[in-house]
Amino acid sequence: MIPIALKMLFRDTSKFFGIVMGVTLASMVITWQGSIFIGIMSRTVAVISDMGDPDIWVMDPKVQYIDDVKPLITTDLYRVRGVEGVSWASPLYKGMTRARMEDGQFQNCNLLGLEDSTLTGGPPIMVEGRIEDLRRADGVIVDVIGATTRLAKRPREPGAAPTPLKVGDTMELNDHRAVVVGISRNIRTFQSQPVIYTTYSRATTFVPNERKMLSFILVKAAPGVAPAEVCDRIERATGLAAYTRDEFKGRTIDYFLKNTGIPINFGIAVALGFFVGTVITGFMFFSFTVDNLRYFGTLKAMGSGDGRLLGMILIQSLTVSLLGFGLGLGISAGMGAMTKDSALAFLMPWQLLVVALGATIVICMASAMLSIRRVVTLEPAIVFKG
């Protein structure tokens, strides 16, 4: 009876199209909004994600998330290096600075100071220049998005394109001369501010002098030792907080989820998509069933049991949910691909697809429930009523 169920569905073109469009709309809104939400959340941990080498981040126990810097004293670095299971530990400066461009414009930037000798935590991909060029006098590396947007030279002619910052250009960081020695490709940050890399010692000269300058300690666990175990040892030995990379990402995301309106705003959009999709799909699917009630009644009279009719409706529902999900996902993914190089945060992990597929199936099953109820309670004797 499955082919019969599918033909009843497919050949009722207008209803079929309407139902699939309803599911497509819901699926598209869920995957699109979900992808942007995940994209934004991933940007909150961009700095952590870009630093792939260290396993562990050590910080003041009061730190709540990546931008919540509470500086450590330099001796903490040595104490961490002395913990058993630590392969190496590097200092990281992370702060904000104001860059003054050649044309006199100011721009706030993220400043990252890497250990002078190892340059641990450097940019993941170099577009131009090398990380080692940071050792040149006054050298800084600027991320390509910052170089082409906020740090780009403004055009002299109105309406002309700005000139991207390039290797060899200079700028002032807190009245200190800085020379661009490289351009890197980074994950966009949450605030979309440019990222400037330099050495740790130079970073501490760029920013106003404070008693404590060490923001984080980046640690690599020794081979064969679990990072989580090393974290425990560091915490016990130093009293500092130590998190694995994933733990720190989770902590940062958790902070943004709990302390910003982002989840509520996106949650409302996703819920709206779910609700609208359910209503449209439910209405269309129910209407389709009601239109076919006479035929379901006929099938029932001819000896189709409730289970068989229920199976037919579920097959119809599952078919439209998979089709609608595929279409909605395709549209979302297509739009995401088209906006890949824009400032739009769009990230579509497979987990989102599983959740969206589940939500779409729930929408269709909820819609089918109304129809199933109607068909199951249908008296087969209806077929003799005119």
Partner: protein
């Protein structure tokens, strides 16, 4: 008045109803659709149920076909009492033994003619290929062998009813119930449809119960049970009924 519509030879009985009652609703608004119907239908017989609208004809065939539960009395169809065997077994019984022909044909418009005819076989678990082949064979017998891939809406009313009859026949049932099979057809087409049903009944030892208002087809009946107010009030053969009608006084 209560008319005995039973037969004496119990060996050859397809449907046996005794004192069947059915009431719709409850309280003051209750409608007694059947008030104790006694009726037998023999194997191979074409029995027509006639009477004014609301007299209980449709309720009676619904009970006989097992699509409606009776309130009281006894009713055995091909030796089975639906009240005893339960709803699931009744559904299976209908699938195997009962064919349906409806006033509005009830062909599924999104399926082809052959697919519509194949539905009872599919319900009985026959493979799709086999069901379509058997459907095509039956359609050829009713003169629609060349229309198997058409959708029902492309056929005339008479052709659609022939498709419906094919659907009722395809799984070789023992009983066919027909609800106003000719009311949506012109006279000539109605006659041809009835000839077909008559032929089917004779050729396959099938029992047919036909509800109709159409006096022009009474001649095809073996017996005619006339109902009024939930009871069978008169029983006649097709020919005698026609004769009796001709003898009615005409107001001038």
């Amino acid at each position: 008045m209560r008319v005995d519509a039973t037969v004496q030879d119990g060996q050859n009985i397809a449907v046996r109803c005794r004192g069947v009652t059915k009431t719709y609703g409850a309280g003051p608004s209750a409608v007694k659709a059947l008030r104790g119907v006694d009726l037998d239908v023999e194997r191979g017989e074409l029995l027509m149920l006639v009477g004014p609208s609301g007299c209980g004809k449709t309720t009676l065939i619904s009970v006989v076909a097992g699509v409606l539960n009776r309130d009281g009395g006894e009713c055995e169809v091909l030796g089975e009492d639906f009240a005893r065997i339960g709803p699931a077994a009744t559904t299976r019984f209908r699938a195997r033994n009962v064919g349906f022909v409806f006033q509005a044909f009830n062909l599924i418009p999104t399926l082809t003619v052959a697919e519509n005819v194949a539905v009872p076989l599919l319900i009985n678990g026959v493979s799709r290929r086999e069901a379509i082949a058997k459907a095509a064979e039956v359609l050829s017998r009713v003169g629609l062998g060349d229309r198997t891939n058409d959708v029902p809406t492309r056929l005339s009313g008479g052709q659609q009813q022939r498709v419906a009859i094919s659907r009722a026949l395809v799984h070789d049932p023992k009983l066919i119930v027909c609800d106003e099979p000719t009311s949506a057809l012109d006279h000539a087409t109605g006659q041809r449809v009835m000839e077909l049903l008559r032929e089917v009944a004779e050729g396959h030892d099938l029992s047919l119960v036909v509800v109709t208002h159409d006096a022009r087809i009474f001649e095809f009946a073996d017996r005619i049970a006339e109902m009024d107010d939930g009871r069978i009030v008169r029983l006649s053969t097709g020919q005698s009924h026609k004769k009796a009608e001709h003898e009615l006084p005409v107001v001038k």
